[in-house]
């Protein structure tokens, strides 16, 4: 069974879904790294908070009897994309802005502190137990059908949920690329990325641009959280940690600071993880992701699409 093309297609679809989540989170890492050169370690927690908010919306709507799926998803999308970015904004304002200009490690330590804080904030308020959610969307399109050696049918399908995830991700990434390449905000961001002092001199509001970068990253992470809730149906306060590290790996793999790189890296990490669990062992899938991180950092620190980082003295 494992050798068949059907199994392969199945794993590919799983990998793409997973990759969409990692890619959306990775953009937040890459943007922040590009603009202020720090690893926003707490970004995974923003994703976790987004998934919790989406969970509340789905649960609340379900309990109050509203079951029309498009409305539920739209509500969840609007609520999470409005509330989660406030966390991103506050994070930058409280923990990172006062440290601008200090060594990288100081900023990384605050980021870790913030990550621990947010995790425990959610744990204290919502409890440590995993929270299950009923599937929001069911059904799907049948792609292939075959019979396993023992006679039972094996169907490879693309569920409507997976279709929605892929469409949503592609749409968001398109909008996002347009924002970065075509709007004044995107231009300001690119200017800050190249030279913050110079950008300030020619009238770019650097603080505001950096804040908006965090807001944008958090909005995308919150959508990833929404997708996570719908796709896996179980969340707890700790999901942000692993997802965050893997998304960071994705950003590094694609070349940190590069937008297309983050998307590519996300997809690759998703696919690698899916194939690893499909063909080797599920237990060691996290080790696979970490090994990729280490290998990439040792042999190609600039990633697949990144620019070389020149250290100035």
């Amino acid at each position: 069974m494992e050798g068949s093309i059907h199994y392969f297609v199945d794993q590919t679809i799983n990998g793409l879904t997973l990759g969409a989540i990692y890619g959306l989170i990775a953009i937040g890492y890459t943007l922040v790294y590009g603009i202020i050169g720090m690893i926003n370690f707490a970004h995974g927690e923003i994703f976790m908070i987004g998934s919790f908010l989406a969970f509340f919306v789905f649960l609340g709507l379900g309990l109050s009897g509203i079951t029309w799926v498009p409305l539920a998803i739209l509500c969840a999308l609007v609520v999470t994309m409005m509330l989660t970015p406030v966390y991103g904004w506050t994070l930058e304002r409280v923990a990172y802005r006062p440290l601008r200009g200090s060594p990288r490690l100081a900023a990384l330590i605050t980021a870790i502190g913030m990550s621990i804080f947010l995790q425990n904030y959610v744990q204290l308020l919502q409890g440590a137990r995993p929270r299950p959610l009923q599937p929001v969307i069911s059904g799907g399109i049948e792609l292939m059908r075959t019979v396993t050696p023992d006679g039972s049918p094996y169907v490879v399908g693309l569920s409507y949920l997976q279709l929605l995830i892929i469409v949503l991700t592609v749409a968001l990434m398109t909008v996002f690329t347009l924002v970065i390449t075509r709007t004044p905000l995107g231009r300001a961001q690119r200017a800050c990325e190249q030279d913050r002092d110079m950008a300030a001199l020619i009238g770019v509001n650097v603080d505001r641009t950096i804040s908006l970068t965090f807001v944008m990253g958090a909005a995308l992470a919150s959508v990833a959280g929404l997708i996570f809730v719908m796709n896996y149906g179980v969340i707890d306060f700790f999901i942000g940690f692993l997802a965050g590290i893997k998304a960071f790996t994705a950003a590094v793999l694609g070349g940190i600071g590069s937008l297309p790189g983050a998307m590519l890296g996300g997809l690759l990490i998703g696919l690698i993880e899916a194939f690893w669990s499909g063909y080797f062992t599920v237990e060691y899938k996290d080790v696979a992701a970490f090994s990729i991180l280490v290998l990439v950092l040792i042999f190609r620190p600039t990633g697949l699409l990144g620019k070389p980082d020149i250290e100035k003295v």
């Binding site: 509340f56 990288r104 990384l108 502190g113 425990n120 060691y284 996290d286 991180l293 950092l297």
Partner: protein, 519 residues
């Protein structure tokens, strides 16, 4: 000079209060507070028979929003030089809150649970600790307002504050010369002090273990400037080395101890070798990855580590071959029979305490001495400027590798102590949180400050053990403290850096007069 500018700013601002700006700022804060709390505080998911239910806590959200609004307003007034309204309106309110909390403490202390509960039902939030935190912050603001009225200036410049904090740290470091031996004497007498009971001793063993871990990590983070987020991996390697050797080969703790340290150091060198060329923040993430990898391997390599079941029945340490058992096997002697003492289970605990104290002191002594050796100097130089070091002929990779390996070795020692103390280990004990706790001890104490680690270990490990109610807030407070300390005093609480070596050493008398004239 700073005083004058502050005064003139105060005078200029007097009478002109920009109400619109104030309301705008306070309103924005309230809005942010609303957005931050409405989801996670406002709703609570609870398990009920037959599924989940959503409960609401909107009263808490409202309180948080109001607190944000008025708190921001008070800060705005203080910043703009209008401390009077803050003191007049805020002062009595804060006093009221403090009185209510004091009454609560008094009733709880007197055992009058009903009265204390009725007070608590009037307070917002389900948790008394949150109220305490709010009270402390508002006392702070009110105190600043009153101070500002008396001094006719409400702002302390960053330089002033920094200089003051540095002065305190320098004083502490100077006193440290005398406090160190005194503390050591206290620690040595500690188990025999009259108020020390079993529970207290148990907590102390834990605190000293973390002290040792803090000192070990301090070599890597404080001296060499390498942020290691996976220190717990070496702790785990040490613990598992001893646990496996002790249970499978029946080797004694004392034989295994150096071996566990050696294994951990080897792990440190093997892991460190490929990655130490990386830049600081990448290195941190990679070490975190290694820490998690080792945990995942421990969890899944069932044949050797017994996975999530862990290893139990790890042999206890003996006192020069004398075990601490009540009834030794026929023909052998145990500690109490050999010395002709009455058997008490506390004996073993006292022994464990002295054991870890000795190990921790060795770590401390080692660190203090190695700082003065060429390799220690190279670490500190590398921390300050890697490029300069490289150009002066210091091999960065090898130098970092020694720091990494030595730090890991002490982690391994502490790990094998942990295994022998617990008698049972499982991968659960070696999560990232543990690394974060050890890092928090080092960060809070001040990078490279040996005394700071003691203070931080007592505060972070000892206090929550005493006040069980604090325990669930412990990690929350760790996170917040890491952020606040980095923002206020990035070098750490008790950090004060003197150059380790001077080109022209100051002469004796000058050294004495300099601090005096500063006072």
């Amino acid at each position: 000079m700073a005083e004058i500018t502050a005064n003139s700013r105060l005078a200029a601002a007097k009478g002109r209060l920009d109400t619109v700006a104030m309301l705008k700022e306070a309103g924005l804060t309230a809005l942010v507070m609303f957005a931050l709390t409405v989801g996670l505080v406002g709703f609570e998911v609870r398990d009920i028979p037959g599924g989940l239910a959503l409960f609401t806590r909107f009263d808490d959200v409202a309180v948080a929003v109001l607190l944000g609004f008025f708190g921001r307003m008070a800060l705005f007034l203080l910043r703009e030089g209008h401390p009077r309204p803050v003191a007049i309106i805020g002062g009595p309110l804060v006093l009221l809150l403090v009185l209510v909390l004091a009454a609560d403490v008094w009733f709880t202390g007197a055992g009058d649970v009903a009265a204390s509960e009725s007070i608590r039902s009037w307070l917002p939030f389900n948790s008394i600790i949150v109220v305490w935190v709010i009270a402390i912050i508002s006392v702070f603001i009110a105190a600043r307002a009153i101070l500002a009225i008396r001094r006719a200036s409400s702002t302390v410049t960053v330089e002033e504050r920094e200089a003051r904090a540095d002065h305190v740290a320098a004083q502490v470091q100077k006193i440290g010369r005398y406090v160190g031996p005194a503390l050591l004497a206290f620690a040595l007498l500690y188990p025999f002090l009259p108020f020390v009971n079993r529970q207290l001793l148990d907590i102390s063993v834990l605190v000293v273990t973390y002290m040792m871990l803090g000192w070990g990590l301090n070599i890597v983070v404080g001296l060499a400037g390498l942020l290691d987020l996976g220190y717990v991996a070496f702790y785990a390697v040490g613990a598992y080395s001893y646990a496996l050797l002790g249970t499978k080969l029946d080797m004694s703790f004392w034989v295994c101890l150096p071996f566990a340290g050696f294994m951990a150091a080897t792990a440190g060198v093997i892991l460190g070798f490929p990655v130490l060329r990386l830049r600081g923040d990448y290195l941190a993430i990679v070490t975190l990855g290694f820490g998690e990898m080792i945990r995942v391997i421990l969890l899944n390599w069932y044949d050797v580590t017994r996975g999530p079941d862990g290893i139990s029945n790890i042999p206890r340490p003996s006192f020069f071959g004398l075990p601490f058992t009540r009834r030794p096997p026929e023909g052998t002697e145990s500690f109490h029979t050999f010395f002709g003492l009455e058997y008490t289970p506390v004996d073993r605990l006292i022994f464990l305490y002295y054991l870890i104290l000795a190990m921790a002191m060795i770590t401390n002594l080692f660190t203090m001495r190695i700082r003065k050796l060429p390799v220690g100097r190279a670490w500190e130089a590398l921390r300050e400027d890697e490029t300069a070091c490289r150009s002066l002929g210091v091999n960065p990779t090898n130098t970092k590798l020694t720091a990494f390996g030595i730090g890991a070795m002490f982690g391994g020692f502490a790990g094998s102590f942990f295994a022998t103390r617990q008698g049972f280990i499982s991968p659960e004990s070696f999560t990232f949180i543990e690394s974060a706790v050890i890092l928090a001890i080092v960060v809070l104490g001040g990078f490279g400050s040996q005394l700071g680690v003691i203070v931080a270990a007592i505060l972070l490990i000892g206090l929550p053990e005493f006040f069980r109610e604090l325990q669930q807030y412990r990690m929350l407070a760790f996170g917040a403290a890491m952020v606040l300390i980095m923002v206020w005093r990035p070098a750490g609480l008790l950090a004060h850096r003197e150059p380790t070596i001077r080109l022209h050493p100051r002469s004796g008398p000058a050294d004495k007069t300099a601090p005096q004239s500063a006072e």
